[in-house]
Amino acid sequence: MFLDIKNLSVSVEGNQILHNFNLQINIGEVHAIMGPNGSGKSTLANVLAGKEDYEIHSGQIIFKNQNLFDLNIEERAKQGLFLAFQYPVEIPGVNITPFLHSSINSKLKSNNKDEIDNIEFAKLLRLKAKDLGIDKDMLKRSVNTGFSGGEKKRYEILQMSVLDPELAILDETDSGLDIDALKIVTEGVNKLKNQNNSFLIITHYQKLLDYISPNFVHVMMNGSIIKSGDKSVAADIEKNGFKIFQ
C-alpha cells in the first residue's frame, strides 16, 4: 500500500476534527474527497503534510512503508509528498527561481542524486511554465506576493510540476478559480498524472471533477468518510447536495 491511513483521530485546540478516519491509496490512483465546510478536509491535508498544530490521538499513517509520524514537514516533502495550499502564503523579496531551486535540490540531495545547476534549473522552470501557459514575467516576481487568487493557484501547480511529487495533495485548489484558471490547474494535474504517482484532490465543488477523472470519490462529513464510490457519487452530490448523506 502506497498510503494507508488507519483509524486516525485528530484534534485542534481541544476540538476533535478527525474521527477514526480511514483511507487507502495505491500508486497510480486519483482520489477525490468532497465534503461541506468544516468536515475536516483541510485538517487531513495538513496532518498529512506534518503541520505541527495538531494533536494526534490515535491511528497511524503508513506512507511508502514508513510511519509518516516519524518524519517532520521537510522530510515528508523530500520523500515526495506535496501539498498545494488552499491559501498560499506571500513571501516578499524571495524570488520563485532560487526558492524552487533550493527546494528541488534539497529533494535530490536527500535521495543521493546529483543536484541541478542554476542554468539547467532555469531552463526546466521556463519549460514547465510554458507548458502550463504561465507567463515568464510571473517567474520574476516574489513568491505569491501581490498575486491574485487564481495566479497563486497556478503557481502551486507550477511548483508541483517542477517538483514532480509521488503524492500530490490539492487542498481546495479549485476554490475561487474562474473557469480559465480551473482549466489550467486541471490540465496541469492531467499532464503530471502517471502510473508512478498518486493524487488526493480535496474539493468542495463537483465542477473540478468535470476536468479530472478520479478513480474514487469519497464523501467526508464530521471527520470521517461516510461514502466511497466512483464518479457517480460526485454527480449525486451535484444533484442533491451533501444533505442526502446526513
Binding site: E74, A77, S106
Partner: protein, 483 residues
C-alpha cells in the same frame, strides 16, 4: 511561543563567531590611558607634521569639556578612557612596508583567514584593498593601477605626509572636531584609515575597499577615512570589519567623511561584523561611528549602504548634507541584532539646496533579547525648495523577547518640501515557515530565505562582489551554522 520558532531561536543562539581568532603577534603600544602625551606619542610614531599634532591637541582639549551623547535608546556603560590603549601596531611598522615581502607572514595569514588575500596575484578581482590592523595600515593593493588614473588611494597617515593640501582643506570639514564627544575623541587619537581622492571626470574602474581588524586586547580602534570625489567623478567604496572574540569590551570610534563636488557620486558600503559578544552579553565591540557625507556640488550624489550584524552596541547614523542644488542622498540599511546586542542606527538627511532628494530604506531584524532602533532625522532648511524625502522603515521580530523601535524626526522650514514616511513591524510568520518546509527546506534555510527576502531591497544595493558575501553573512547571523 510556537515550537517551530523556539527551535529556530535555540539554533540561532548557538551561533558562533568565526572571526574570533587572535593573531599571535608582538605589538607595540604606549601605556594605557589618554593625555596630551598619548597624542604626542601617536603623532610622533607617525612622523606627522606639527600642524597635524596641533589639530589633534585642539580636538583633545574640546573633548575634555564634552559629555557622551545620551539621547540614544542604548544602555551605554561608562567607558573608562584611561583603561584603553590608544595605539597598537605590529612591531616593526615605524614605516609602512614597501611590499608584502616585508610584512610579517602572520599578518598575511590573518587576512587570508578573513578571506582578504593581500598578495597582488590573489587579490579579489576588481577590488583594491587597504588593510588596517589595529592602528596601522598593513597593505594597499592595486595602488599602481590606480595611480595611472590619478586616483589617490592610500592610508590616511601617508596622505597627511604626501597630500597635506587636501588634508588641510577637507579633514574635519564635514565632521567638525567639536561636533560631539566621539568625533572629538577620534580627531585627537585617530591612528589610521583610508584616504581616497578621485580626480575630475574620472570614474574609478574598480571597487575600493578597506578592511579593519582589531587584534590587540584592550585597544581602541579610531580610524579616520576621508573620501573626496572631484567634479564629475565616481567611486564605489566598501569597508569590512572583524575583531577577535574577547570577554572585555573594545571601543571602536571611527569618523568617515565624504565630499562630493559637482556631478560627482560616492557609493559607500559597509559590512560590519565586529564581534557582538557572547550569548550572555559578555564582551563585544562598542561601535560608535560618525559617518557623514557632504554633497557639496550641484547634482552630486552620496549613497550609504550598510549591513550591520556585529558589535555589542552600535551607535551609527551615516548622514548626508545635501548642500548642492539637485543633489541626492541615499541610505540603505540592514541591521540584525541577536542575544544582548543593542543597535541604535539610522541616518540624518539635511536638505539645504533646491530640488534635493533623499531616500531612506531601513530594515531592522531583532532576535534573542536584543533591541533594535531606527532613528532618523530628515530636515529641510529654508532654501530647500521642492525637495523630497522618502523613508521606509521595516522591522522584523523573531521571538518574543526582542524589541524594535522606530524614531523618525522630521523638521521642515520650507513649505514646498515633500516628505513620505512608511513604517511596518512584523513577526516571522508561521505560515511562511510551514510553506517553505513543505517545499523541502529546513527550518534554518526557511528563516534565512525569509529574512534575506525581507532585506533584499537593501542587499541589492551592494556592489556585486559583496552582495553574495552579505547574503551569507545574513544567513550566518541567523543560523546555528559556524560557516
Amino acid at each position: 511561543m510556537n515550537s517551530e520558532i523556539t527551535k529556530t531561536i535555540d539554533d540561532i543562539n548557538q551561533e558562533k563567531y568565526k572571526y574570533g581568532f587572535v593573531t599571535d603577534i608582538v605589538s607595540e603600544s604606549p601605556k594605557k590611558g589618554l593625555d596630551e602625551n598619548t597624542i604626542k606619542f601617536i603623532s610622533n610614531k607617525k612622523n606627522e607634521p606639527d600642524w597635524m599634532l596641533e589639530w589633534r591637541l585642539n580636538a583633545y582639549r574640546k573633548w575634555l569639556k564634552m559629555k557622551k551623547p545620551i539621547w540614544s535608546n542604548l544602555n551605554i556603560p561608562n567607558i573608562d578612557y584611561q583603561d584603553i590603549y590608544y595605539y597598537s601596531a605590529p612591531k616593526g611598522f615605524e614605516e609602512k612596508p614597501k611590499d608584502l615581502s616585508e610584512v610579517d607572514p602572520k599578518l598575511i595569514e590573518t587576512y587570508n583567514k578573513l578571506g582578504i588575500p593581500l598578495a597582488e596575484q590573489k587579490v579579489l578581482a576588481g577590488v583594491a584593498v587597504d588593510a588596517v590592523f589595529d592602528s596601522v595600515s598593513v597593505a594597499t593593493t592595486y595602488k599602481g593601477e590606480l595611480e595611472k588614473l590619478g586616483i589617490i588611494f592610500c592610508s590616511i597617515s601617508e596622505a597627511i605626509k604626501t597630500h597635506p593640501e587636501l588634508i588641510k582643506k577637507y579633514l574635519g570639514s564635514v565632521i567638525p572636531t567639536g561636533d560631539h564627544s566621539f568625533s572629538a575623541l577620534n580627531s585627537a587619537v585617530f591612528t589610521d584609515g583610508s584616504f581616497v581622492y578621485i580626480p575630475e571626470n574620472v570614474k574609478c574602474p574598480i571597487e575600493l575597499s578597506t578592511y579593519f581588524r582589531i587584534n590587540a586586547e584592550d585597544t581602541g580602534q579610531f580610524e579616520r577615512t576621508l573620501i573626496i570625489a572631484d567634479k564629475g567623478s565616481y567611486v564605489s567604496y566598501l569597508e569590512g570589519c572583524t575583531a577577535p572574540q574577547r570577554d572585555s569590551n573594545q571601543l571602536h570610534a571611527a569618523n568617515v567623511e565624504l565630499i562630493a563636488l559637482d556631478d560627482a557620486e560616492i557609493k559607500y558600503s559597509t559590512i560590519q561584523n565586529w564581534y557582538p559578544g557572547d550569548e550572555e552579553g559578555k564582551g563585544g565591540i562598542y561601535n560608535f561611528v560618525t559617518k557623514r557625507g557632504l554633497c557639496k556640488g550641484k547634482n552630486s550624489k552620496i549613497s550609504w549602504t550598510q549591513v550591520e550584524t556585529g558589535s555589542a552596541i552600535t551607535w551609527k547614523y551615516p548622514s548626508c548634507i545635501l548642500k548642492g542644488d539637485d543633489s541626492i542622498g541615499e541610505f540603505y540599511s540592514v541591521a540584525i541584532t541577536n542575544n544582548y546586542q543593542q543597535a541604535d542606527t539610522g541616518t540624518k538627511m539635511t536638505h539645504i539646496g533646491k530640488n534635493t532628494k533623499s531616500k531612506i530604506i531601513s530594515k531592522g531584524i531583532s532576535l534573542g533579547k536584543s533591541q533594535n532602533t531606527y532613528r532618523g532625522n530628515v530636515s529641510f532648511l529654508r532654501k530647500a525648495d521642492k525637495s523630497r524625502n522618502y523613508t521606509q522603515c521595516d522591522s522584523l521580530l523573531v521571538g518574543n523577547n526582542c524589541g524594535a523601535h522606530t524614531i523618525p524626526y522630521i523638521e521642515s522650514k520650507n513649505s514646498s518640501a515633500l516628505v513620505e514616511h512608511e513604517a511596518s513591524t512584523s513577526k516571522i510568520n508561521e505560515e511562511q515557515l510551514y510553506y517553505c518546509r513543505q517545499r523541502g527546506l529546513s527550518h534554518e534555510e526557511a528563516v534565512s530565505l525569509i529574512v534575506n527576502g525581507f532585506c533584499k531591497q537593501v542587499l541589492q544595493e551592494l556592489p556585486m562582489e559583496f552582495a553574495v558575501e552579505a547574503q551569507k553573512l545574513v544567513s550566518i547571523s541567523l543560523e546555528g551554522s559556524v560557516g
